[in-house]
């Protein structure tokens, strides 16, 4: 059974909008079920590598119901398959479950998403900034963070 059929039968409520594009599978996952689905994909479907975990800020996109989407880029070595799962996260409730316990690779990737987008991961062992310094105000990759804004640690503040 193909992975998309497996997912849509086992998680008919949680995983939606599965579609194939360029040999890659894309789909949405309910953010409350993200850990469950990820653990299933890893343990039972062979998606053993979390290649990437990132976020996109869809501020002002009319067709997007929620502001943020977390993108999980999973790769299965055995089947040579790739799946991109996306979880919608709203601005008011910018919290999602951490998948650090499923793939330790998520540890730093989730720290980066927290650093750049300000999304909290519940269950993360040490959610602190990774690329920016702790004193940094705001989250730089959000679309409403101005590109020319400066926050120098030393010297005159503007």
């Amino acid at each position: 059974m193909s992975i998309s059929a497996t997912l849509s039968t086992k998680f008919s409520q949680e995983v939606t909008d599965l579609k194939e594009a360029n040999g890659q599978l894309w789909g949405y996952v309910d953010k409350r079920a993200v850990k469950k689905v990820c653990a299933y994909l890893k343990n039972d479907c062979g998606f053993n590598i979390l290649m990437d975990l990132t976020c996109v800020d869809y501020l002002h996109w009319e067709e997007k119901a929620d502001r943020f989407e977390i993108v999980y880029n999973l790769y299965s070595m055995k089947a040579n398959e790739r799946i991109f799962l996306r979880a919608r996260v709203s601005e008011d409730d910018a919290v999602i479950d951490s998948v650090d316990s499923v793939w330790p690779a998520a540890n730093w990737l989730e720290r980066e998403v927290w650093d750049m987008f300000g999304i909290r991961f519940t269950g993360h062992p040490g959610l602190k900034r990774i690329l920016m310094y702790e004193e940094f105000q705001g989250h730089a990759l959000r679309k409403d963070y101005n590109y020319s804004k400066r926050q120098p640690l030393i010297g005159p503040k503007n």
Binding site: N22, I49, M51, D52, N73, W103, P104, A140, Y147
Partner: protein, 450 residues
């Protein structure tokens, strides 16, 4: 004789020591801070701090047009910038749904493999130097120099190359490229042989590399490690094999794997990968389709400035028929071979400079592609194309909102995953093992911190 110790004196009290290495340390290449907790000479814990070279790459990419982000991608992995260039272009091309010419694909493969060789030469050379083998460093940098001269002859720069374009390449290969490359390969094979003679059975090198920085196959996979680092543990995962882009599926090459996942195996894997890359370059140079020179300029050409002056005076009769010889700085290295390496799709590819400066259609085409609010406009959507970087899977996740600027560019930096697993390699080893292990990670701060 000193005073006897009091009876309740605890002579066995031990405390661990914190050793701070970096962000700038002579034995570390790249700015990174490692805080090691030591019990005597043994490392009991490692905390890695990154971000010292953060330059807001992803934010900067969102500010300009699609081709504007290209020069930034040079600065990701500055030891093999061509691979990041090509990787970014492949993702945007997937977004646009276009394909490039065969010759362009072959050139991209050749340039990527040259970059992989320079990257591995730097990595092996620098980490040998840190173990005291300075000769090896000099030999390898000598070999790298031959390849960088090749890169310079093709792209015009050694490091900040910006060679690829969405839909093609800036220019075709220079005339004597194949000959020079084959010569560089032959010389490099000799250098690698010399290096193997110096290192492989060198007691100091072998003892410091063998069984240090060990990572298990399971740990490497769960931390998302790819590239030579993963292959040293025995997993033959290579993007060029499992998701071949460009023309990798037409070329023969082996994927070297190690067994133990230690520093020595990573050294062996990198040495063999260079040989395989040279094999790929030789095949690609053999199979590359000859470019057709599309226009014959002989006999009816006019200098660009002359044409502009004539046009100012209204002398435009017959002007559309003549070809313009643009100034070499404008023309690039191969205006005549433009069609060999660049897409014919006018919505994506810049016209050749002779057209831009020589006729109104070319000028308008150029204008439509470079002015704000015009430019390349992929439909709304997203694309991710992985390529095999020198450190592992390198992928650009590009989101388009239908305008001429990328909405989001996310790069998956291969050494990010390796650095997040550094404690797995180092805990239990000695302090001195930090240096060869960190060397074999081949951390490139440019792509790690972006």
């Amino acid at each position: 004789m000193g005073k006897p110790l009091p009876a309740d004196y605890n002579t066995t009290e031990t405390r661990s020591m914190l050793l701070n290495i970096g962000p700038s340390h002579p034995a570390m290449h790249g700015v990174i801070r490692i805080i090691a907790e030591l019990d005597g000479e043994t490392v009991t814990n490692i905390d890695t701090e990154i971000g010292y070279l953060h330059r807001a790459f992803e934010k900067s990419c969102e500010q300009g047009q699609y081709n504007v982000a290209l020069p930034y991608s040079d600065r990701l992995n500055y030891v093999s910038p061509l691979i990041s260039n090509v990787g970014y272009c492949l993702s945007v091309e997937r977004l646009l749904g276009i394909d490039t010419t065969d010759r362009c694909k072959y050139i991209r493969v050749i340039m990527c493999e040259i970059s992989r060789i320079t990257d591995h030469l730097t990595c092996v050379g620098a980490s040998s130097m840190e173990l005291g083998a300075f000769t090896v460093f000099l030999y390898m940098i000598k070999a790298r120099e031959w390849f960088w001269e090749l890169v310079e002859s093709v792209t015009g720069a050694r490091l900040t190359i910006s060679y690829a374009r969405v839909g093609g390449l800036k220019a075709d290969l220079p005339a004597d490229f194949a000959e020079k490359t084959l010569h560089a390969i032959a010389e490099t094979r000799k250098v690698l042989k010399e290096v193997e003679g110096l290192l492989n059975s060198n007691r100091i090198f072998y003892d410091r590399m063998k069984d240090t920085g060990v990572i298990s196959k399971e740990d490497a996979l769960s931390y998302g490690i790819t590239g030579p680092f993963l292959r040293s543990t025995g997993v033959d995962l290579d993007v060029r094999r499992y998701a071949p882009s460009l023309v990798y599926d037409r070329l023969n090459f082996d994927i070297p794997v190690g067994e133990h996942g230690d520093n020595l195996d990573r050294y062996y894997v990198r040495m063999e990968e260079m040989q395989q890359s040279m094999r790929i370059i030789e095949q690609a140079l053999r199979d590359i389709p000859a470019g057709e020179v599309t226009v014959d300029l002989a006999g009816q050409s006019v200098k660009a400035y002359q044409m502009v002056d004539d046009a100012k005076m209204g002398l435009t009769r017959g002007m559309k028929q003549v070809a313009v010889v643009a100034d070499p700085t404008l023309e690039g290295s191969s205006g005549a071979q433009h069609a060999n390496v660049y897409s014919a799709n006018k919505l994506v590819a810049l016209p050749k400079k002779e057209d831009t400066y020589g006729n109104i259609e070319g000028l308008m085409n150029h204008f439509k592609l470079v002015m704000h609010g015009h430019g390349i406009r992929p439909v709304k959507g997203e694309a991710y194309v992985p390529v095999e970087g020198a450190n592992g899977e390198l992928g650009f996740f590009v989101v388009s909102d239908g305008t001429d600027k990328p909405y989001r560019v996310r790069v998956r930096p291969p050494c990010f995953a390796i650095m997040s697993a550094l404690h797995k390699c180092l805990v239990g080893d000695q302090v001195a093992d930090i240096i060869p292990t960190f060397g074999s990670v081949n951390m490139i701060a440019g792509e790690l911190d972006r």
